[in-house]
Subunit: 230 residues, 2 copies
Amino acid sequence: MQNIIATTAPVHPLLLQRWSPKAFQESPVPAATLSSLFEAARLAPSCHNEQPWHFIVATKDTPLYQQLLQCFNEDNQAWAFTAPVLMVAVAKMYFDHNGAPNPFAWHDVGLAVANLTVQAVSEGLQVCEAAGIDLEHIYEIFDIPEGYQPVTGIALGYAGDADGLPAPLQAKHHRTRTRKPVNSFVHYGQPAFKMELNEQQQQVYNLVREKISFGDLRPAFAFAQQRLKR
Amino acid sequence: MQNIIATTAPVHPLLLQRWSPKAFQESPVPAATLSSLFEAARLAPSCHNEQPWHFIVATKDTPLYQQLLQCFNEDNQAWAFTAPVLMVAVAKMYFDHNGAPNPFAWHDVGLAVANLTVQAVSEGLQVCEAAGIDLEHIYEIFDIPEGYQPVTGIALGYAGDADGLPAPLQAKHHRTRTRKPVNSFVHYGQPAFKMELNEQQQQVYNLVREKISFGDLRPAFAFAQQRLKR
């Protein structure tokens, strides 16, 4: 077992043993195992029991796999191609019962993905999520309509050996994992939140935020990518 | 064990045994157990390892508890008061490294809450999340600034007996739990998403969506509550 984060209190092994590998073994994931993973996701709670999660899934032996790989951005394709299973999680952004937008959808997709991940670890698998996905491409090839929103790419498989990957990805695969201490995010009293940005960061925040619209992050992402690359 | 959802494939007991009770036992949660829960949350993955989760927490023996209870809306206060521990999860909505808004924050808070929940179940506890929280009140008493956003209320404790609660809450506590089948949200091919709303629902969607602004859901919630109650 590698890459365990030190904790100040005991944590269940299924949570402790989870990590985000950048390389996977070639071994396919049995269909029955995938079924267990999606049943695990299915059991997550959600606001109004809306269950706003969707998973577009491909195993490496199917034509859809290449399409899903193209949904990851280039940096992530460089390692995700090693995974025997790729997915894109999509959030349904409105409530069935009244049509109102569902701001909890992303949170609830997180609950479902975490359930899927716990089940994966219990089956000896690991998951690496990729926030860096190609939104334009996903909207186009999967014909995502208003009311739905791609959330995250997911690579799944048995953790592998990164030796065949470029050096920066090997480094990511092997890097020491870090977390903020619990007392930085747990507040048994007034939390004293404060937005701490320098002038340049504040500009970026304001500019990108302007572009963010509920239900479609494409304008914000396109803008941010342009701006942040400069 | 009560309230297990039937699955078509085996799921790990920690996920299978999780449910959302509307009544908790009086027994307090030991401090050491709470530490394990927050260490579990801490281990969740996040976009850029930003760890955008915060938890404002109170145990029943502290003055903060009443304040946190007031953060739940009235319907949820009617059962949440039975929980020995209450929390509000707050998302940090920007990235430290460049100041850009973090649209993954809610998803990542979901990952952390799910980890906390798995740890809770492993300790014999249960969690009930409450999306129905009083945003105005939370912003005011906890002085939530731009860049932070309350996500969900969390009630935690050992599942209890609902006999002392009003009949509708007893019914909720005991209700048969339902989920959509896996094949309704897992797509091994083109998903064919479609927004299906009747005319009235489409109006609600459009009207509420207009009010949703990244980083502050208050205008949308205030509007939706007014509108949907009519």
